[in-house]
Chain length 108, copies 2
């Protein structure tokens, strides 16, 4: 059991941060999402959501594309292959931690 | 689905921080754990583990007790009732987020 706990303590904070975990998880369930959709989903302010998307894009986890919808700018966001792999690994890791602790409890 | 994502973005960072999530999850699986055990489990340094335990104790999530084992000081740690409830709620929340995203994906 030790290993998964040890790795957890060194978990990737870029992905683990609550708002970013939420954004990446949402994107893992759809091909593409626009800014307004992500904003409504997470309840984040425009500034906060922009900041999180920039960090995720700089890390190569998502790619964004600016479009104009009814003459208004809109940002379309999707996971990169690296991003998809990273969020899947992250959830696998969280689930392994939780599962190990539960099994450990049953053993006692 | 929206609500769980929205709540996620405002998730309790005190608990969500990887090392503290790891410590609280370990404590949720056992009645009490000593400092050396938690240190081996998480791979944290003495300083880091002490810091995290202090924060968790200040927040009322754990209680600690100093003991002497073979003339050496040792800190025994256990969850408070609030701490047990908080870590259970946190995992329920994480699992709800992941589950919702998976179901959403199947619906598409």
């Amino acid at each position: 059991m030790t290993k998964v706990f040890e790795e957890m303590a060194a978990l990737d904070r870029l992905i683990h941060e609550p708002a970013r975990l939420s954004i990446l998880t949402a994107l893992s369930a759809c091909k593409r999402a626009d800014f307004i959709f992500l904003q409504r989903l997470t309840g984040l302010t425009v500034g906060n959501l922009s900041g999180h998307l920039s960090k995720l894009e700089e890390a190569g986890l998502i790619r964004t594309e600016k479009q104009f919808v009814a003459k208004r700018p809109n940002t379309i966001t999707e996971l990169t292959n690296n991003g998809r792999e990273a969020i899947e690994n992250h959830w696998n890791h969280l689930e392994a931690l939780h599962k190990d602790a539960r099994e450990w409890k049953l053993d006692q």
